[in-house]
């Protein structure tokens, strides 16, 4: 078996690399000598909010049953029938699982990376949540709650593409994205019906519409922003909003179906 010294050396190198990566949170263009970036803080008397509803007009797609029968353990773990969730519209035409985010208007500001991870769970042979946002450098915690092996595969184009196997009972994986990228499609290399989408931004101004189609982006500094919405089947839209100190603005979007 391998002697200890070499093993420890490798470990030490890995740890060192990890440390230097953590310290180096400078944004491109920032003064290179700066020891730590100056994080932008939204003044307590200025925080604005943008809310809205995402709607869908058109024929509601028929429910499509997902066939997991090739993996009986998945059928059991899913507890009930699984339906395609690529277009989820409620009775009132509200569109869920749309990713809404500030596309521009925050240039020159650097935001602190949240210490709490964002979790994606493989549960019932399904990615939960399906649509999610995360900040650059924030930890993505990948959990497998299933009794089967999954292989999570974020098909990133700007960030590093990777895939990793995670067996039943394996500890969570901790991964980070290093660059903004909207959106990264995620699949499971083993179960073809499993899909998720991750939006990576270098600020905390994003939301996912709920079952009622609504979203809220809060704690915004006053300013003029391009608010964009992305939906996996319907594409993207954007509109401009301006909010003053403690301002409230509404940005509603309607996608038209075929």
């Amino acid at each position: 078996m391998r002697p200890f010294p070499l093993f420890n050396l490798c470990l030490a190198i890995t740890l060192l690399a990890g440390c230097s990566g953590k310290v180096n949170t400078e944004q491109p263009g920032a003064a290179k000598s700066a020891p730590a970036p100056l994080y932008f803080k939204v003044g307590p008397g200025t925080a604005a909010v943008v809310t809205g509803t995402i709607r869908y007009q058109g024929k509601k797609p028929a429910l499509k049953l997902i066939d997991m029968s090739e993996e009986p353990a998945c059928v059991e773990a899913h507890h009930g029938k699984a339906y395609d969730e690529s277009l989820v519209v409620n009775k009132k035409g509200a569109l869920a699982n749309a990713f809404v985010y500030v596309k521009s208007g925050l240039q020159g500001k650097t935001f602190e990376i949240p210490a709490t991870p964002v979790t994606i769970d493989q549960s019932g042979c399904w990615f939960r949540p399906r649509v999610m946002g995360i900040q650059v450098g924030q930890v993505l915690k990948v959990v497998n709650s299933d009794p089967v092996t999954h292989n999570i595969h974020p098909m990133a184009q700007i960030n590093r593409e990777w895939n990793h196997s995670q067996g039943a009972g394996d500890p969570p994986l901790a991964r980070k994205f290093t660059k903004p990228e909207v959106m990264i499609p995620v699949k499971c290399n083993i179960h073809s019906w499993m899909h998720a989408f991750i939006g990576v931004l270098d600020y905390p101004y994003f939301a996912v519409s709920g079952d009622d189609g609504t979203f809220e982006i809060k704690n915004l500094p006053p300013g003029t922003y391009a608010i964009a919405v992305w939906q996996e089947k319907l594409g993207t839209q954007e509109q401009q909003v301006t909010v003053g100190p403690l301002g409230k603005a509404e940005a509603n979007f309607t996608f038209k179906g075929k």
């Binding site: 490798c10 090739e70 292989n151 595969h153 895939n163 067996g167």
Partner: protein, 339 residues
Amino acid sequence: MVFCVGCKTSGNARPVGAVEEIKAPLGLPLVPIPADNPPTAQTIALGRKLFYDTRLSKDNTLACASCHNPNLGFTDGRSLSLGVGGMSGVRNAPTLLNAAYSPLQFWDGRASSLEEQSADPIANPIEMNQTHKVSVSKISGNPAYKAEFAQAFGPGPVTLEKIEKSLASFERTLLSGNSPFDRYEYGGEKTALTPGAIRGLAVFVDPKRGNCAACHTIHPAYALFTDGRFHNTGEGVNGEGEFNDLGRFGQTKLEADRGAFKTPTLRNVALTGPYMHDGSLKTLKDVVAFYAGGGDSNPDLDKEIKAISLSGQDRADLVEFLQELTGEMPKNAGPPGKE
């Protein structure tokens, strides 16, 4: 490196007895025999005795058989093996069954023969942790061993080289073939495999489906289920795409060998879990799913490792096939005196 410095043997000791033929069971080729260590009944018996002797560990608690237990397919059933004092090793104990065919020994191939391999774990600080000098002295202090070494190698002192050669000759007898697969493939017994295992075999060899045989090779006349080479499957990679255990790279310093480990044989694989060099996969089902998913990505991933579209049935069939690779156990391989 703490071992194999100053322990290289000169190759002077030669067995003196009549050469013993080691017969290969159905499905296995002729056993390669080094010119300077033809197996004899005496060296094989001596190697067997040493293999089960705890005198070869620092605190007399461990023998070779502690991690290569004949009841567990000559493995220990653990993810990582335990050395003296319960110290955890860094890799999974490989089976010794059919190790005689491997061109290089250990997960990283650092020994080029069984002779070179056999004494390494004895001196390894995280395994048996006893210097070769002490081992030679403990063994030669025993009158029965002294006599047996004289019978095996002729007059002269007990040496490390003689210990290595005896252990290696015993290991060469640890052959296991004549599995249901062998009887089906090489014995013309078409009912030896279950229908599921026959389907699994088809997936196993099909380059467009399982493609398992690309590395776990099957020859028209025999099957070792290993190419004896080193591959990076991504097992053990961390979130930064790096490996704590660099595997073959530690020997060759070639970039392409980063994170690469020797292809293990799949013979008796149903007996030798948990799996992979770090023992991180518990069941054969886990292993098949690992490969179906395309392993774990990293910069040096082997080009043969990619996501495979296998149905749940295909994966179940593969597992069923792997379970049919359990062969007959070699005779006279257990602790001496317990035939």
